[in-house]
């Protein structure tokens, strides 16, 4: 070898990546072909496509569809909230207040995920904060899950979008104004296209985190079942089937990431 590459330094993280990460994924995928003993629920190695066949039934198609819908809604809501917020923070607020805004966005990340989910459970209950201030509550279920997940993942969307606004050269905005573009035209034709990759990067977080969530949904979801809760239930009773279900979310994420790569989002992470 002519050029010296610090392979020694890379050995430990590479080993971790390959064994603990890819190895685990591979073994999950392989387990999906195993079956269980119908009496003891123990895993029996073998090869069977039954688990994947069972996935094709209406029940699981419904669960996967519902999970995708929730992940998409959460992502759309996060974009809708994050873009104006990040714009104000990066472009309107005087520079010395920006760090304060950034801190406000980051503060919720210091609190435990469980605490925040249970706080939403308390707020959503009858006679909770929502009912007392707004006069009504959606109760536990679909809407509650979308609300809670949007709250939980919003910072992960604001941060890349804020960074995108920061990178946007002032001269582009001035050029647009000089050419007679209105504020709205500037936003739509200059800002948004430049921001695309940043938004796409944010959606990778909000979409994937929503897709795999099982805790928030079990706290505020009522009787709602998502991919994560179905995996959890089967994790206890039928590990190979849980593995097959887990494979579904991996496949969805791979497709999503490939699609996002085309937008250049992965360079913005």
């Amino acid at each position: 070898m002519k050029r010296k590459t610090p392979y020694g330094l890379l050995a430990a993280p590479l080993l971790w990546l390959v064994v603990a990460y890819l190895g685990a994924l591979a073994s999950i995928f392989a387990t999906a072909f195993f079956t269980t003993d119908s009496f003891t629920n123990e895993v029996v190695p073998g090869f069977s496509l039954d688990n994947f066949r069972a996935l094709a039934t209406g029940t699981y198609a419904g669960i996967v569809g519902r999970t995708l819908l929730i992940a998409a809604l959460v992502t759309v809501l996060c974009v809708g909230l994050a873009v104006p917020f990040a714009f104000v923070m990066a472009r309107v607020v005087p520079a010395r207040w920006r760090s304060v805004g950034l801190a406000l966005v980051l503060v919720p990340l210091w609190a435990s995920y469980l605490v925040k989910a249970y706080a939403w459970r308390a707020m959503l209950q009858p006679e909770g904060v929502l009912e007392r201030t707004l006069g009504g509550t959606p109760g536990y279920g679909f809407v509650a899950v979308v609300l809670t997940l949007t709250y939980l993942w919003l910072p992960y969307m604001i941060l890349p979008v804020y960074a995108g606004f920061e990178r946007l050269p002032e001269s582009h905005l001035e050029a647009s104004a000089d050419l007679g573009g209105s504020d709205w035209a500037t936003f739509r034709r200059v800002v948004l296209p430049a921001l695309g990759p940043s938004i796409a990067a944010g959606t990778v977080f909000t979409f994937s985190l929503s897709l795999g969530d099982y805790i928030a949904v079990s706290i505020v979801g009522g009787k709602l079942q998502m991919l994560g809760t179905a995996v959890l239930q089967n994790n206890v009773l039928d590990l190979p089937f849980a593995a097959a279900l887990g494979t579904v979310s991996v496949v969805i994420m791979v497709i999503y990431l490939v699609a996002m790569r085309r937008t250049g989002a992965l360079e913005n992470l």
Binding site: A24, S27, T59, G62, E127, G222
Partner: protein, 404 residues
């Protein structure tokens, strides 16, 4: 993206194969040698402990909530601290919400002792997760009700696999201020929900299918259900239909008992299946709740303390099981959890002298109305031979379908 290096791909494949090999060999059933119990269940050949050694210093327990209390939840509720001092075994507790969770956690080999209900015991025995018990090493074993010992769910071929702990029934809990008239039938959660639409709660486990089957057994005799754990395909389909119809009225399913207490306090759940301990804790926190044993009877449990075959603290395990089934501790647990104690002498130790009468500790006629949790298998448990019954794996799939 750079082109993948074929050498690197090969390395990944090799490591993947290694990981697979390892995972394949670790999950094989410990069969081969071993005896076969009536009903065709294969049981691995394990030997019980001959004699106790010195205390190992610590022991970890997997228990239903309320069974192993060391004062950390409520300083007044403590039957472990004194044991720890006397025995030299420090006790750590992990609670579980369903039998399925218990079986899965027990398989990790991290726990020495488990309180297993009848729908977990045989699964643990058949998989070699728990070992036979040398009953002569348990001082209190002789005082346990004969009707609980050497039953189908806690012994195989005349070998005891644990010390019976106690038994009870799943009750129907309701908010006294919101549900009127007071329910006396499971119809309150199935056919006759009334104004409680959207506030019914149900237990989140496939074993809850038996609750629906029990209700059908009493209300639809033409289905011919004789045992809620022995359902042929037609009977299971009827139970599944009932539960699917129930789902429209359900607000939340529960398996975490603290979440159920919170839901009843907040009024998001107003009626549903429960355990006596939940009623007690909820009342203690000021919730307006009451519980009844409905006229159809109920599903219930008969629990057994079992010892892990992989335990490194078997002496402490035996000492703890002996302590938990001793008259005083057994009485304290029975009163706190709200169940009939397993030890005869516990009846003299309860704070409420009527406890054993209230919970029918010696009333076999009463317990013939309570269907202890059991694992459904293909061979019908009610003795039918002309038809195949649905096993627990089928129930599991059905439950996910019900939950949708």
């Amino acid at each position: 993206m750079r082109r993948p290096n074929p050498l690197r791909l090969a390395a990944i494949a090799a490591v993947g194969a290694l990981a697979l090999g390892a995972c394949g060999s670790s999950s094989t059933t410990p069969s081969g040698s071993g005896s076969t119990a009536p009903g065709g269940m294969k049981v691995p050949d394990l030997k019980p402990l001959d004699k106790l050694g010195t205390a190992e210093g610590k022991v970890s327990v997997l228990a239903w909530p309320g069974y192993v209390e060391d004062g950390s939840n409520d300083p007044k509720v403590d039957w472990i601290s004194d044991f720890e001092k006397a025995s030299g075994c420090e006790v750590s507790v992990k609670t579980f919400g369903t039998s399925d969770e218990a079986v899965q956690l027990m398989r990790t080999g991290q726990y020495d002792v488990v309180s297993a209900s009848g729908d977990a015991t045989l699964r643990l025995i058949a998989a070699g997760d728990v070992e036979p018990i040398n009953t002569s090493l348990l001082k209190n074993y002789g005082d346990i009700f004969e009707s609980l010992k050497m039953q189908k769910h806690n012994s195989v071929n005349g070998v005891a696999y644990g010390a019976p702990h106690g038994r009870g029934a799943n009750l129907l809990m309701y908010r006294t201020d919101l549900v009127s008239p007071a329910p006396d039938s499971w119809a309150a959660v199935f056919d006759n929900v009334g104004g409680q639409k959207g506030k019914v709660t149900a237990y989140d486990s496939p074993i809850y299918i038996a609750d629906a089957a029990l209700y059908l057994m009493k209300t639809k005799p033409d289905l011919g259900i004789k045992n809620p754990y022995a359902l042929d395909e037609k009977q299971l389909a009827a139970a599944v239909d009932l539960l699917k119809a129930q789902k429209a009225n359900v607000g939340e399913y529960w398996s975490d008992y603290l979440k159920q207490i919170q839901a009843f306090k907040a009024g998001t759940s107003t009626v549903g299946t429960t355990w006596q301990v939940i009623v007690n804790v909820a009342k203690g926190e000021g919730a307006k709740v009451e519980a009844v044993l409905p006229k159809e009877g109920a599903t219930g449990w008969s629990d057994t303390w079992m010892l892990s075959a992989k335990s490194q603290a078997k002496t402490c395990g035996y000492l703890l099981i002996d302590h938990l089934t001793s008259p005083k501790a057994n009485a304290a647990i029975a009163e706190y959890f709200g169940e009939a104690p397993g030890n005869k002498k516990a009846c003299a130790e309860t704070a409420d002298k009527n406890h054993c009468a209230t919970f029918h500790a010696e009333d076999e006629a009463y317990f013939s109305q309570v269907w202890y949790w059991n694992t459904p298998i293909e061979a019908c448990l009610d003795g039918r031979t002309d038809v195949k019954c649905t096993d627990y794996a089928t129930w599991t799939k059905a439950w996910t379908e019900i939950r949708g």
